[in-house]
Symmetry: C2
Subunit: 689 residues, 2 copies
């Protein structure tokens, strides 16, 4: 390769120098203005001691002009990665954005939910099905870790709308450190013939001298990196891009067998043949932290970095003497609270996503001085939701399968391993986390052999917003994502009997729940007050511990009515499931069909959140059947902040009372006189209190 590559590389350098000089005369007094900083690593930047404001002399688009960005994104991990990119992009942007996301089904599912709940003003998102693109690129053998998806950037011109003249294409592993409008403005620097803007590749890969027998694809000098691309779409169409790259790729594949760097190899081979098509971009727009990076030559002199590209397979763990600096830039957005990006663009029309304006109005109408203001606000809050935050294998379809459903925050993370040991079946867990905590959670799972071995546990992150724990909103997120026909509605502090998963599936089958009965199977609840205790292996062992005073029925001292109807003394003797009747404040843990009623999201913070759900089940005529061999045990923990507030604040208790009353009003409206018994029970309990 070398003898063939060199003269062309020299030619490219001359060409670039020429462009630079032209840029100098066209655009300003200081050559630095021409291309921001140098376009190739071998030149010394001009005027590095003095500098002008970034991108001076660029005429930026009007502040309401829409900028278009296309990204290919597939799978769970890329769907997480792209969010950090999005946060950095949105943090600095001041223009409306239209995102064109080419996704597989997994990424689409995740990102649709995320953007719908994120509600960022002045962001439009369109999805394109990556499946449809596969046949267009699957004939190209590719050794790069991005697989087929990496190659899809080649066919963007044929999938994006014809009305779209220009687009910025990004890899998911880039981080912005400046306003994308400055990058967009570089389209204006294109000559009439140029169709693609790229930054030089910041390693010697394409020079072919990295190791012995290294045979890279042909490129102009060091070639270009395709992590950040300015694509002039309509010109590409006119140039016959599709024919062009296919011809080149096919020809090179005769000798090269496969691409090593996916689309990038093909882009470079095409541009080597047609150097007039490429507009070289300043190096700061794609600072590449690959394993063999020469990026230092760019960033040590530059006044300002614009985009960081984590293009090593090691990503953030890449070795680099300035790694800490770059990591800090990235961590800034990794932990950044995404809701702060719900910022409007002053003076631009039609920027609000569906529902956002109504929501803002509803929030604005709340009275901050009203005692239950926090409750009202929390109920209205739309939380960002990131479903299946980690890789997940959906359970195979089985008619009697049960998913354990629960929710937690950071302080219950240590329950997860034990829970995994007790429940070998699928789980759907909602986690209420800050953006920073979500990263700690990721680390926690990755470093736990128990957790990382389990692919049937789906974790759904609901991002924190507001002072009260939105317990029922969390339960509904976890419930909506359960994929089996039945769900076990549990709480995170409970460990189920080791046999419970199997026993529940057998019971569902025996009781023929699927076909004829509308039932809620009750799993009796117990509690231990000891940190360490040996979990009973059977009902008999449990009863022994109960008699020895090592276990209690759940909340026996504090809140006996919560499980009164379960009738623990009958359970002791029971050999078969038995039916029980609803009574006031009943809140058992139950197994129900996945399509059961949702939890009432008005209950935020502590209190009555499960009680209301059980009332709903009863009102809809679910039978409560207690299972004779089922049990689950609550482990001790410090009282939550919400329960502490409930105990110490009469306002808090009054607000909860108000919620209960509103709930009953709604209940009467929906169930008429059938709901009378719940109201009577409520009034009786109030008169007792």
């Amino acid at each position: 390769m070398l003898p063939r590559g060199r003269p062309r590389a020299m030619g490219a350098v001359v060409l670039l120098l020429l462009l630079l000089v032209v840029g100098f005369f066209l655009f300003g007094r200081d050559p630095e203005y021409g291309l921001g900083t140098t376009a190739t690593l071998d030149e010394k930047p001009y005027g590095s001691r003095n500098r002008s404001a970034s991108s001076s002399q660029l005429l930026l688009p009007s502040k309401c002009e829409m900028l278009h960005v296309a990204i290919v994104c597939a799978g769970y991990n890329s769907s997480r990665e792209i969010i950090t990119l999005m946060k950095s992009l949105l943090f600095y942007r001041k223009n409306p954005l239209h995102l064109h996301l080419i996704t597989d089904a997994i990424a689409r599912n995740i990102l649709e939910t995320l953007f719908r709940t994120w509600m960022v003003p002045a962001v439009v998102v369109s999805f394109y099905d990556a499946e449809e693109l596969k046949p267009l690129v699957s004939w190209i053998p590719n050794k790069h870790y991005s697989g087929l998806y990496g190659l899809m950037k080649l066919v963007l011109p044929s999938i994006l709308p014809l009305s779209l003249a220009r687009v910025i294409v990004l890899d998911t592993d880039v981080t912005f450190s400046s306003d994308i409008v400055e990058l967009w403005a570089l389209f204006d620097r294109f000559s009439d013939k140029q169709v693609v803007g790229l930054v030089e590749n910041q390693s010697d890969w394409y020079l072919g001298n990295l190791w012995k027998n290294h045979r890279p694809w042909p490129a102009l000098g060091r070639g270009f990196n395709t992590g950040v691309i300015l694509l002039w779409l309509d010109r590409l169409q006119q140039t016959g891009w599709e024919q062009m790259w296919k011809l080149t790729a096919k020809r090179e594949l005769h000798t090269l067998t496969a691409t090593s760097l996916a689309d990038q190899d093909i882009f470079n081979a095409v541009l080597k043949e047609h150097p007039n098509l490429v507009h070289p971009l300043p190096c700061v727009w794609n600072v590449q932290l690959s394993d063999h990076t020469l990026a230092e030559r760019c960033y040590l002199e530059a006044a300002d970095l614009k985009v960081i590209h984590w293009n090593s397979p090691k990503k953030l763990r890449v070795k680099n003497k300035h790694a800490e600096f770059f990591r800090n830039l990235h961590l800034t957005f990794l932990g950044y609270d995404g809701k702060l990006l719900r910022r409007e663009l002053f003076g631009c029309p039609n920027q609000f996503p569906p529902g956002a304006e109504q929501l803002q109005q509803a929030l604005a109408q709340l009275d901050e001085e009203e005692p239950c203001f926090e409750f009202r606000q929390q109920q209205l809050t739309v939380h960002r939701v990131h479903i299946t935050f980690l890789p997940h294998q959906p359970p195979p379809p089985r008619p009697y399968d049960v998913t354990l459903v629960a929710q937690l925050s950071m302080d219950r993370l240590q329950m997860l391993e034990a829970l995994c040991r007790h429940w070998p079946g699928p789980m759907s867990l909602a986690l209420y986390l800050t953006d920073a905590e979500a990263q700690q959670f990721l680390h926690f799972v990755e470093t736990s052999p128990v957790l990382s071995a389990r692919k049937d546990v789906a974790y759904h992150v609901v991002y924190q917003d507001g002072p009260l724990y939105p317990v029922n909103q969390l339960r509904n997120v976890a419930l909506a994502q359960a994929l089996t026909p039945y769900v076990f509605l549990s709480d995170i502090d409970f460990l189920p009997a080791y046999s419970l998963y199997d026993y529940l599936r057998a019971s569902i089958e025996q009781l023929e729940l699927g076909s004829r009965r509308k039932a809620a199977l009750v799993v009796p609840a117990f509690e231990t007050l000891h940190y360490r205790f040996s979990f009973p292996n059977s009902k008999a062992e449990l009863l022994t511990l109960l008699d020895a005073g090592s276990l209690y029925t759940f909340r026996y001292h504090e809140w006996p009515q919560g499980h009164l109807s379960t009738d623990y003394s009958r359970w002791r003797e029971a050999q078969a499931p038995y039916r029980v009747q609803w009574s006031a404040d009943y809140e058992p843990y139950v197994v129900v069909p996945r399509d059961c009623p949702r939890y009432d999201p008005r209950f935020v913070g502590f209190g009555w959140n499960k009680v209301a759900h059980i009332i709903e089940l009863d009102a809809q005529e679910y039978e409560f059947l207690v299972l004779p061999e089922a049990f689950s045990i609550h482990l001790p923990h410090a009282p939550s902040l919400d329960i502490s507030r409930f105990r110490s604040s009469s306002t808090y208790r009054n607000c909860l009372q108000a919620l209960k009353e509103e709930f009953h009003q709604d209940l009467s409206r929906r169930y008429g006189s059938a709901a009378l018994k719940y109201l009577t029970a409520l009034q009786q309990s109030r008169s007792r209190a």
Copy 2:
């Protein structure tokens, strides 16, 4: 005022228009380039639909040029506020900064510790004593909430070093949303005569028409706001600034009795007389969100906001239809992880603060593949420390007074109220929090009547960094900040007997600890496993509960050796303090003089952190005296993440073992053969294990 003010205001508008036109011809094609955006609110910005890159045409200083910033800061709340300003400033800055902080003793104490531990490269901090400035301004009656400190901006030219030619002066309640270098560059726009750069005041305050009989100080039109000032110091000296403002102030005070807006009134009165001294800055450099703000006229049209000024006494709670937008900008930095700002400036010399380079090297030398890498890294980590995060009243000097010392993280916050009820004396608490959690903590204290009533509790925030809880580093921070002669070294999950504070002080006096004895008073530890239990009011009640099995001696089942030496059966009967001998793994809660040995910071995460400290006390020949009426009770909580990791990971246990061995080696080095007994005990316990 109005008839007098108007013609001059008109004159000012004409002058500004003139400047703008001159700016147009001098600086660019587009008038917007001249002043960024308009300098007065009454003009429509030019070219608001098209825009250039921000501050185009400004020639920025070289990237290593030092910029100087002066800020007056006094008291606990301003010391918190200034940190958010600093974070926003550091986030965008790309130049070395020299901060000139004019502080009272409180702010100095807090900020010196903070900046020393923050270790931000390329930031120099100088402190100036505000006490010395008081006499220079105390003769001016002032009604503004900033008090005397507000006025100090007037005398900055006489206190800052003569070598300092130019400085940017900021109020603590501003937030940056851009690089301060662009503001600094505006000095170049000053004419030869101009000495001070200011943004127009964005309310009608100085027009005097806000309410009936409102008599503001004289000003040019709407006057100027002094939240952001460009001061050309050497020119000010030459102009005779000191004489000038004093003369003006004295004259106006004949009729106006006091300033309403502190320094700002005087600045405006001076500039009204000498309009040639002021250089009007673009409105975006001080977007004022005061109660009567007209800022909308600025920001709705501007392409870019540079500095937000929360100049309402309501601060973030100010009513404004775009309040959410501005709050989000502010919250971005309020919750921003400050350690991410430890970013070097590429290519600038001598930027590292004391110790930073050695620390970096030590960290770089660690082997990431070594099994105990996380422990090594955590031990080396320098955490940012914000002492006395909330307003605090130091206890009056009393010879036998005791401070309760403890540490906690967010998940133990709900212990604080109970602790306050049990311990009426001073406390020094270290909190291990993220920046975002520190804000939640602030909210928690503000909304708790119990906590906000207690001014003798000092909260010291140690910012989170790394995966292991740095328990002993936290204890040392809390211990170092205790201000009484004695300290009770407790843990956050313990509630002391109601009488303990009084009893300890009496015991210290009776035992004459102050003069002759080197003693550690042991407070026997118990535990309950119940969430709710009624706390014993006396030793007799405690013994009854113990006999009833409602209480246990602490960790009786799991770790009896921790409190074996305390000898609970002797304590039952004891009427007087009794001496006990050290035994292996002894870790009682003790009362010692404040100058006791520090905790060994190598113990991070779970395990052996108190044991090592008690060994240290024993090695230094402290007597252990058990107090017969003292007790404290541990409340139940879920196991911490660290203890879970200890239990589940053999690597974790091996690393702890390695730490123990290193500790013993150091012990032998320091105490020679006297330390032999500790090593023997360790070896015996290992052979038992």
